[in-house]
């Protein structure tokens, strides 16, 4: 018996639809956990969050409690936060620096390298018990790309670099705003739950079609502060040209000419007159280091990148790194951070964070309305998906050539990969 299709991609009929049960059914979420979260490279955190040996953060990643830790030799490690004896979490702090991870239940302890170093009354164990076999467990694969640490629960997974495919070009573009090429997670996290399926935030994170209506108040805020808001040409809904693009393995991006201001480096009146010289200085540094063309690419475009399945790097009003995990089919937990150049001046850092808060975050002028939109979708489809089974996702399909940021090619790229994996394919296969 063939399973009913959940994603319909009919190029001839120019039809693309997604079955709403994918956003509602607990059984589908269970399958996602096995076929997507256990087989894809999943973002854990950033190397800048663990600067010194022993620095750690505890997080839930792909449904598991993990410890992201810098080991005694300075290498980022990921440990499953469970004691090898009976299973209690060995670290219950959110973050800090540890010499040992100590399980208080019976007193087993592990060092920064995950090795079991302390077992009270070890002489009572039989000779077959060997401490070196009971270190903290690690995901089969952990690797980094330019500071971003990922794990993979599939030992056979393709290399991270290959998995990221065309997304590396867009990560590199973000990092080019830093004179040293290095960026760091800035202190402070924004965490919030959304009562909606996790895939709705994937869509929302790079859906520019919703801006005009969902973010009317934010657009008004920019307009009232003196930002030019006229759409450039026929067919455009927004004040600047933008495209949607697939990057391979389900990753995709919208790549837009900036109109909303950028801390690196396009001043808008919202930043205030005092910020102007600093933004001009940053711009001059970009030009001197990268040349006019690349500097313009870095400074004058906004990019919203989705790394399949659940990492979002938006380089717009500021740079935000955002990841989210399903708590249930109709609820997700979101974590968002700000990313900035390690060598940024205090003045530039302040502008970056201020600009961040105009748009992003649960107290910003835009994100609360995104949250509301996603929750409204979930409320709408939760109990009606049998009567109204399909969502429409065909914007731009009839067009030859370029797909705009307000079309849906990039959303379709996500869903096609989702569908491939859910039918059993492995990433890259």
């Amino acid at each position: 018996m063939t399973e009913p299709r959940l994603v319909i991609d009919d190029a001839a009929a120019r039809d693309f639809r997604v079955h709403r049960s994918t956003l509602v059914e607990p059984a589908i979420l269970e399958q996602e956990r096995r076929r997507i979260f256990d087989r894809c490279w999943i973002y854990v955190g950033h190397e800048s969050e663990i600067r010194e040996p022993g620095d750690f953060h505890t997080r839930n990643v792909a449904g598991r409690p993990v410890i992201l830790c810098r080991d005694s030799r300075g290498k980022p490690r990921v440990f499953l936060n469970t004691c090898r004896h009976r299973g209690a979490t060995v670290c219950r702090e959110a973050r800090g620096n540890a010499r040992l991870f100590f399980c208080f239940y019976h007193g087993w302890s592990y060092n920064r390298d995950g090795a079991l170093v302390g077992v009270p009354g070890a002489d009572a164990y039989p000779p077959s018990f060997r401490k070196e076999e009971h270190g903290l467990a690690e995901p089969p694969r952990v690797d980094s790309y330019r500071g971003f640490v990922f794990l993979n629960f599939d030992a056979q997974a393709m290399a991270l670099r290959d998995y990221l495919a065309g997304a590396t070009e867009y990560i590199d573009l973000v990092l080019d705003q830093s004179p040293s090429g290095r960026m760091e997670i800035i202190r402070g996290v924004q965490e919030y739950d959304v009562a909606a399926n996790w895939k709705l935030l994937v869509e929302n994170s790079f859906d520019d079609y919703h801006l005009l209506t969902t973010h009317k108040t934010w657009l008004d805020y920019l307009r009232n502060s003196g930002v030019e808001m006229k759409p450039p040409a026929q067919g455009h809904l927004l004040p600047a040209h933008g495209i949607g693009k697939e990057l391979g393995n389900g990753h995709a991006v919208i790549d837009n000419v900036n109109f909303r201001g950028r801390p690196v480096a396009r001043w808008i009146p919202v930043y205030g007159e005092a910020a102007k010289p600093e933004i001009e200085r940053i711009r001059a540094e970009l030009v001197a280091r990268l040349g006019e063309a690349r500097a313009a690419r870095v400074a004058d475009t906004n990019r919203n990148l989705v790394v399949f399945p659940n990492l979002v790097i938006n380089d717009g009003s500021s740079v935000t790194v955002r990841t989210f995990f399903p708590l249930s089919a109709d609820r997700m937990q979101v974590r968002a951070w700000a990313l900035g150049p390690v060598d940024e001046t205090a003045a530039a850092r302040a502008i970056r964070l201020d600009s961040f808060l105009t748009f992003y975050g649960p107290g910003g002028f835009a994100t609360p309305d995104d949250v509301e939109a996603l929750e409204a979708v979930q409320a709408g489809i939760g109990a009606t998906h049998r009567e109204v089974p399909w969502s429409v996702m065909s914007r731009g399909m009839a067009k030859e050539g370029e797909q705009l940021n307000t079309d849906e090619r990039h959303l379709r790229a996500f869903w096609l990969q989702w569908d491939r994996l859910m039918r059993g394919a492995r990433p890259g296969a």
Binding site: G188, D220, L353, P362, D369
Partner: protein
Amino acid sequence: MSRTISRAEVEEFLYAEAALLDAWDLEGWLALLSDDARYHVPSNEQRGGDPAETLFLIADDIHRIRARVARLQDRAAHAEQPRSRTRRLIANVRIVGQDGDELAVEANFAVHHFRRGERLREYVGQYRYRLRLTPGGLRIIRREALLDALELGSLGSVSFIL
């Protein structure tokens, strides 16, 4: 012109502010702010930081506060349409410092937040105020709301004036 302010006067002021916010009288609330007022909600894991170097949930200067109020009065502020109801309980009010015309005040809050189709959200935490005594009465220079929850969950959304 500094004079001693009693706790009762401060309490009266905070209760009046809470009443304005619960009534969604945001223009009335703006009138309680000085022209250099700031409104902060730090991230719950970094409550002691400076918004110039730490990511907050909200770090508004007076211009951003006014823009926030304008936004909340627009029917297109979807996160507050239909508007939520709030009921604020303010307690444990303490004057913790006075410097000339300026007062440092701390108070506990429990803001109960109700929306259609949603369960009660209970925002619990501490307000830290800097108030200025003016001929027209007390004015807010700085208003910081520190959330106590360790896992914000649905409290992470702060779409109204907390």
